[in-house]
Amino acid sequence: MPLHEAHYQHWDGAHTGIWARRGVIAQNTLLACLRTKSLRMVLVSCWLSALLMAAFLFFLGQLLVPDSIVTTWVMQMNANLQSFFGMFTAWLEGHPEISVRTTQNVLFYFYGVYLMPLSIFALGMVLPAFVTRDLASSAIVIYSSKAVTRFDYFLGKFSAAFAVMAMTWLGPVCAAWLVGNLLAPKWNFFWHARIALIHVLIFGLSSMVILCLLALGVSAFSSREKATPAFWFIWWVLGLAIQPIALHTLPWLRHVAFGYNLRQIALEIFNMGQDLKTAQESIPIFGDMLGKIRPETRAALEDPTFFGALAGLAMMLAVAVYILKKRVRPE
């Protein structure tokens, strides 16, 4: 009996567009990433942190509501804290256009910057799913023989990396902003807090593009599944370790760390120095607290090395793109 007893049928339907095919690559890669247990755990942690952030914003908003549980609770605190919260509440009531903007800008700077490492960790864990596995299994030949180009392949993989970061970073940050302001006592919080959201989006989207390209470059660096995450984490940790040493020896060396460069960009975008000055002028007790910050930290907050960071990241991106172009070939 011939094997092809099941007859071959011709197909004459309409083909999907190129964006659909790119989407298929992204979807497939994202599903492969989500099969990684550690990514799922990071996802849960990130969204839990978003809940906490929203709860904190709710707490701040409740300070404006007389007789709320939060206000009652604050009244039971020690004199210093009562004084701080009293001034803070007065500031929120008196100048919401400045206070809400400044408070949320500072809060979302810290939330964004401190949530980023979790996202970088998640990206490191799923690096092999981007390009490494396709190089190892020669699946890259299959992609090249289908109706997609190398650019379509990159775009699909990039979108998957972007989605991972969106789920573990920008998504929770934006959700925290949205829920936090939804729970605020006045609707005008949305308007006053818009700058914080714009800063989050500018910093988040630009950093995600940079990190995703770097991740793809590292993913294409080797065809060994254990090598690429190892390289990613070593680069990251070395960067963290170098920063305090390089500060007093070779300051430019700090720019080999992508985390440091991204933080400088965050400082520039969120304009933290200005916000701290505003807070210091508006709440005297807060000003005393800020006065205790070390001068070098204060200088770093007020005058980030923005152009050095941009140059460092540009060089990293150039290397990543070169690796991708060199390595992602059919054979």
């Binding site: 011939p2 071959y8 197909w11 309409a14 497939n28 190892a136 299959i142 109706a147 180009t149 054979e331």
Partner: protein
């Protein structure tokens, strides 16, 4: 059915460093089942990859299905299937998922891709194993899967690179039967690359023999088989000198080979004149080995060229 050439190349060359993998290949190939025959390293795979744009062309130009290679990559590959020689499966996927995914990459909507994936897996003879992870497949299953992914989007032409590699004789026969049916029953042009004369002879109607990146011959199987030099190797127990003298009187070349056999160039389509002559001389042959046809001869020539020092 259209008879316009499916493959057209003009002065196609591919150079890797110092080595010319393809050397000025000019061809016009009509639809059908095409055998790309040649020893290992002859340039068969490179030729296919250049047509599919998996390798950039060094010089010359090529057209596939009437479209310029190098300009309309996506459009060409939408209508082309390719089963590479090496394994190139995506780890972690089940067979049916993989074929569906390949269909989607070729532009099929998800529903159609899934339906066709199952049809193609039926067609290549895979049953429940399609739901298993590809990593657990045997070589034979992987070869079938490669074939299924190459035809899932209903291509007009399919390139199969050594599809019987690593298979036992039964598996080889099954795969060749499937490949044969693609053109004969369903009108899909097949380009089968192989270093096995037997495989190509069994499946293909047109033959292209390549050696050291050059095309030695491109003709139909029928013509190549019919084309014989009109020579034979004669094994005799006695009377070698008599036969040599008789051949000379007929103006035929007759040489003694190192193995003691006589090689007679009788220049006839059949062995009858030679047999008549021997009958007249009362020389019964122990054995007569007819000369190989042009297909075998050119293939042997290709092997010799590839083994000769560069």
């Amino acid at each position: 059915m259209t008879t316009a050439p499916v493959i057209e190349t003009e002065g196609l060359s591919k150079i890797f460093g110092q080595q010319r993998a393809l050397d000025n290949v000019s061809l016009k190939v009509s639809p059908g089942s095409i055998g790309l025959l040649g020893p290992n390293g002859a340039g068969k795979t490179t030729f296919m990859k250049c047509l599919l744009q998996l390798q950039p062309i060094s010089s010359g130009n090529a057209r596939l299905l009437g479209r310029e290679v190098g300009r309309e990559g996506r459009e060409i590959r939408k209508r082309v299937g390719y089963a590479p020689e090496q394994n190139c499966h995506i780890p972690g996927m089940a067979g049916c998922e993989y074929v569906t995914y390949c269909g989607q990459l070729s532009g099929l909507p998800f529903q159609a891709a899934r339906q066709r994936a199952h049809e193609m897996l039926d067609f290549v003879g895979m049953s429940q194993e399609r739901y298993r992870k590809i990593e657990t497949y045997s070589t034979g299953m992987k070869q079938r899967l490669k074939l299924a992914q190459a035809i899932v989007h209903d291509p007009e032409i399919v390139f199969l690179d050594e599809p019987t590699n690593g298979l036992d004789p039964k598996g080889q026969a099954q795969i060749l039967e499937l490949v044969q049916s693609l053109w004969r029953a369903y009108g899909i042009t097949v380009v089968l690359s192989s270093h096995l004369l037997h495989d190509v002879e069994r499946v293909c109607e047109q033959i292209i023999i390549i050696a050291r990146g050059r095309v030695l011959v491109h003709d139909s199987l029928e013509n190549l088989k019919a084309r014989k030099r009109g020579a034979a190797e004669v094994v005799l127990a006695r009377g070698h000198a008599e036969l040599q003298a008789a051949c000379r009187s007929q103006n035929w070349l007759c040489d003694m080979l190192p193995n003691g056999h006589l090689r007679v160039e009788h220049r006839a389509d059949s062995l009858n004149p030679l047999l008549t002559l021997m009958h007249g001389l009362h020389l019964p042959p122990l054995e007569i080995i007819p000369s190989p046809n042009a297909l075998e001869e050119t293939f042997v020539q290709a092997l010799e060229i590839s083994h000769a020092p560069a």
